[in-house]
Symmetry: C2
Subunit: 344 residues, 2 copies
DNA sequence: GCAACAAATGTAAACGTTTACATTTGAGCC
DNA sequence: GGCTCAAATGTAAACGTTTACATTTGTTGC
């Protein structure tokens, strides 16, 4: 015997419209009537059925979050900040991994086109080719892209400023006087990886340093990749004086490789990472890295999306924001680190 | 000009019922009609509005997941496994942190009582007192509890077998011949912490070992807590020969403390943890710990919940499953570890 | 006391499906 | 051809709200 709005109306001696108005707070209701209704509502412990509300209002107060995968503290932090912000705004969060790139559009369509959510925050696994971009264009409804944007004209995106982060890291390494600076790159086709690499290149050239092609090695964002990258670099006749690893995980692998080969960080080789993962502060010496403002990324994206939904900003507009990173100085670059390491 | 089921029906020259039957696959439809409808559906790129479906079917194909907080790989893994399983079953996942214990019931109510989800997987931050339990009892609809259950008669829960995990760890330490085995406990009122402590106690007593009260110190599941716990233990006139840290984070803190005080693990003191977090395999020596079957926890909970929703199993029944843990042997307990450490 | 107007309330039509039930169609059989 | 029965289809009533519009009520100024 589930109680519905009609039951409330009947018992309070008013119409359903009045009940609705009372509960939603929109539209005028006399104080006396309000109290009458509220009493019945409390008595019967009534709460409006949101399935019906969603249909009637053509809105769900739910936003979809589609991520490449659901692993890593990175995504957890992202989800956390989105959840927090959504909670404050009285919205709900529906989450999904894209279950491989193939299904990214399908997931999106199921979320958006069926009206299950009011908008979507989408982070694609890799760069989006033009075919994918075209399909995305078909989809109606507000979408905010994170960290990689499709090749379409009007879209909204928030990105971590990989380029700026990379240049500031490389600049810092250069400021130590290092000239032979190597890079362990991220995986091919990953836009984060590409931008960080570009930042490295440009910064080197800007400072009049030439880039020895043998000092640029491929990586894959994993510990193993970093390990092998390091080994490769130190198999060279002239190994580098510093290494910029495109992310912290690879830097971690480099630590291990250095340890095994008896190479000292930072005395023999300096090391810089990117991401500022939890682990990086536990290393000895603490890893110098680039802080990626994930929390900011999540909450800004959500806030913007809500504005799109409410119509405060144009959903079909073109808006791109790069969130700037910060340098986290540890001891791995050669700086004095006053930090007491937590991992022996 | 959003296209609805009536438009499809009109163009295909059938009734909406037939379109619905065609699309849902339930109810008889002649092959010829089916094709006719499908053509129109494809032409107009139609997909049924799920807000309307939800209302009409009194179901949302969505399950709610309420977690104490959205940080840590632990919860990420949990979400990951739930998402994966839900995806396979064609369901959606709505996620929320409980935004502190106070709002746990409110979140639950908003999810369930308003019909936003078909069922909920709930992990409470701490032990649920009887007041909270009573309020939970009021809520209609399928709920699966994770890792702590309310004080009510009929409910469903899946738990990591903390007790068994703790005893097997302590038993292992005892098998090394250690007798003065200390424990760094988890926070008061946390059911995981309590059960692990109980396992420690019972196992010690079962093996005829007496428990020196000074060897049991409070902790809080953080690195810092572990650090101070270790320091406290080694400030004793007779420090322990082995330490069981109630989770890996605290074990991590213990490593750091050991390092600083020049105490060798495992030669001077053996160490055991609990959780098997990513980090534990990076330590040197690798941490001996208890593997918590999180993936299994998530997927089993979800599968059971779906069965409750579909009515295959009784939602008001009483069912409790403990998922057994496994020992992950590293070098910190004194065993030979053939593992090559990744963190120097 | 009444006009004018605003405030409060009510009426009923959406919202876009699903599905119980009623009806039609068609096949198989005599 | 007429009967029976199952298969296919259609009709229309839910599902439980919100909200545009219509109506009633109450207030103010004259």
């Amino acid at each position: 015997m589930k109680v519905d709005i009609r039951e409330i109306a009947r018992r309070a001696g008013v119409s359903t419209a009045t009940v609705s108005r009372t509960l939603s707070g929109k539209g005028p209701v006399r104080e006396e009537t309000r109290r009458k209704v509220m009493n019945v509502v409390q008595d019967l412990n009534y709460r409006p059925n949101s399935r019906a509300r969603n249909l009637s209002r053509r809105q769900t107060d739910t936003i979809g979050v589609i991520l490449p995968e659901l692993v890593d503290e990175f995504f957890m932090d992202l989800i956390h900040s989105i959840d927090e912000e959504a909670y404050l705004a009285g919205h709900y969060v529906m989450i999904s991994s894209s279950h491989n790139q193939r299904n990214i559009v399908q997931t999106l369509v199921e979320f958006m086109d069926s009206g299950r959510v009011d908008g979507v925050i989408l982070m694609a696994p890799k760069m989006m080719d033009s075919r994918l971009s075209q399909r995305l264009k078909q989809i109606r409804g507000p979408i905010v892209f994170l960290n990689s944007r499709p090749e379409i004209e009007n879209c909204i995106s928030f990105t971590i400023d990989n380029y700026q982060g990379a240049t500031s890291m490389v600049r810092h390494l250069i400021s130590h006087g290092y000239e032979r600076i190597a890079m362990i790159k991220g995986p091919e086709g990953n836009s984060d990886a590409d931008e960080r690499y570009q930042g490295y290149l440009d910064c080197m050239l800007d400072h009049g340093l030439r880039i020895d092609p043998s000092l640029v090695v491929e990586g894959d964002f994993t510990i193993k990749g970093g390990y092998h990258g390091f080994m490769r670099l130190f198999g060279l006749p002239k190994p580098p004086r510093a290494i910029f690893a495109a992310n912290d995980m690879m830097a971690l692998g480099a630590y291990e490789a250095a340890k095994q080969t008896g190479i000292n960080i930072p005395d023999d080789v300096a090391l810089g990472g990117f991401d500022d993962i939890f682990l990086s502060k536990l290393l000895n010496p603490r890893l110098t890295t680039v802080h990626a403002p994930i929390v900011e990324l999540g909450s800004k994206a959500l806030r913007y999306l809500l504005q799109m939904i409410s119509g405060e900003v144009e959903s079909n507009g073109d808006y791109h924001e790069k969130l700037s990173t910060g340098l986290v100085i540890g001891g791995s670059c050669g700086c004095e680190s006053n930090h007491s390491p937590l991992i022996p």
